[in-house]
Symmetry: C2
Subunit: 348 residues, 2 copies
């Protein structure tokens, strides 16, 4: 059993990472409760992994252990409690399912990207081989859908639709590498599909399970979209402006992989003449030297691209907070608002 004491410390870290540097002492009372919820959904997740073939179970467990900060279970639980629902055993399988889906996509992403590392540890394909990573990802998806099977067809369909959007977003992003003509709208659409759809489906489903009215569910969908897209824009900014000692990730990975971001698209569009050609040439190069990556940053900083990205992220945060307006006032709603704000002030 994962106990609350064991998970409270990382949860404080999580809360700090999602709430940014603001004063979050007001939420301290909520922490042990949410810590227990997240621990319970984690137990539910672990209980779904056993397989009669130990190798597959090991690969699946390894993947879930590297599965990150448990932001999704935290949001799902906070929404459920914000709506006054207390029977948390009803929501744990859903929280576990969304965490499993997230993990499955990370594992398949690492196969696609041939990534050797995930959060500083060898990736699943690196540690267990490519075949195991593909099958383990499938296995995690299947276990997620089995956990979802107990919910209403409406919830299962929404969860499935988000997964389908996620797959489409991944495909669109994969096919947009080295494409500076992608355009902002298309970029934002990809982010919405790839990152935000599953966050939105998670919080909206949580509201559905709590028995909330349609308008509340729709509001939470808006909240999840906003948080997801803002999160992604901030991720893109941290890739260029973050402190690797704080983020734990090397800088410039999007440029190295030719992945267009709002920042690159805006910088490219704002530059003129020779500088624009230089940006293009550097961005499109399949291998980039450190000096070339720094030059891309220099060129970007001659434009208002950073400020535009931040302004966009703020709009998505506002949209997220707008989505919470039908939620009862109270500390959980405040926490959810603060999470949305923290998404763009976080430094890791």
């Amino acid at each position: 059993m994962t106990g609350p004491a064991e998970i409270e410390a990382p949860l404080k870290g999580l809360v700090r990472s999602v709430l940014g540097d603001g004063d979050y002492s007001v939420f301290y009372d909520l922490l042990p409760i949410l810590a227990q919820d997240v621990a319970d959904s984690e137990d539910r997740l672990k209980a779904s992994l056993p397989a009669s073939y130990p190798f597959l179970e090991e690969a699946a467990s390894y993947a879930t252990d590297s599965g990150g900060k448990r932001v999704r279970p935290l949001l799902i639980s906070a929404v459920y409690r914000a709506l006054g629902a207390t029977e948390t055993s009803k929501i744990q399988p859903l929280a576990a399912a969304f965490q499993l889906i997230h993990t499955a996509t990370l594992v398949h992403d690492d196969v696609i990207d041939r990534a050797d590392l995930r959060r500083g540890k060898p990736s699943v394909p690196r540690a267990f081989g490519m075949p195991a990573a593909i099958v383990a990802g499938d296995y995690l998806f299947v276990r997620a859908f089995q956990l979802a099977a107990r919910y209403s067809p409406e919830v299962i369909l929404r969860c499935g639709e988000a997964c389908a959007e996620l797959a489409q977003g991944e495909m669109m992003q994969e096919n947009s590498r080295y494409d500076l003509t992608l355009g902002r709208d298309r970029y934002l659409r990809i982010m919405s599909m790839k990152t935000a759809s599953i966050v939105a489906a998670g919080v909206a489903s949580s509201a559905m399970v709590s028995g909330a009215a349609r308008e509340v569910v729709d509001g939470l969908e808006e909240y999840g979209r906003g948080v997801g897209v803002a999160f992604q824009i901030q991720d893109d900014l941290l890739d260029v402006y973050g402190d690797p000692d704080v983020t734990g990730k090397p800088l410039f990975s999007d440029w190295k992989e030719g992945m267009p971001t709002l920042l690159s698209l805006d910088a490219h569009a704002a530059l003129d003449g020779k500088e624009r050609s230089e940006f293009e040439r550097l961005f499109l190069a399949r291998r980039k030297r450190p000096a070339e990556l720094l030059r891309l940053k220099e060129l970007t900083d001659r434009t208002d691209a950073h400020a535009r990205s931040m302004a966009d992220a703020e709009k998505w945060v506002e949209s997220a907070i707008h989505g919470l307006r039908k939620l009862p006032e109270g500390p959980y709603r405040q926490l959810l608002e603060q999470v949305a704000r923290g998404v763009i002030t976080r430094r890791f």
Copy 2:
């Protein structure tokens, strides 16, 4: 719309391929009915594929078009009708879901095996790239689960459990390459998990949806297991003894890939001294010349391995037919019996 006329001809081929060379004119009356059922489930399948991103939809459609003979939808429909159920709109989504799951696993298998061809056409990874093949496989799984969402949790869980077994069987098979110490029991267990579990879940779920009693459902599970394992043993035999002009596949692919089969395990166990060492050396070689493959066949033919495999397959067919005993007598039950027999007399 896929019409019955269009599908009846291939269905006759399918029926011949699954019924073997026997007299199947007794089932001619059933053909147009089953042809329409399979066509309807095919429409259901196609209706589930549309995506807002055309590239992904194209890859998914391409995969389903190469998805084979529609044995699963045929069996699911035949079971449903054998049980006297006629409201086929209730069973089409299930038949489509099982076909989609089958297709998804083929796509991911082709990534794992780095296969260039599938049924004589470029494989999905070959035609669309590895990233698209991984994501398209995930997408097909998700669409399958969405189709399954309308059924009872019991049906969804059985479907999920079969997918989990399938993943485990795939992993076990992948890790058994070049392993002549695998043992018959373990081999049969892999076949049961990888091939038979999903066939069993399909026919058992069909019985559940028709409202059949528990003992009927259990019998159909037994039927599906038997048909699945017998099918796989016959597949292994055709890989060595088949006529490539009839099967459409090159010979000896299991030996080329170091995949142990019942045939290889039995041959290896039955050989003595020098011949056994020679078999081992040839089997374990990562590259095998045509003369070496023929020598493996020669060594195999000095043992009773072929006869033992056939005897095993017959036992599984008997078990399958035994599983039908609770089904009402009639032409559909006869057809299902004949399918089980045909599985091991088929030459392609």
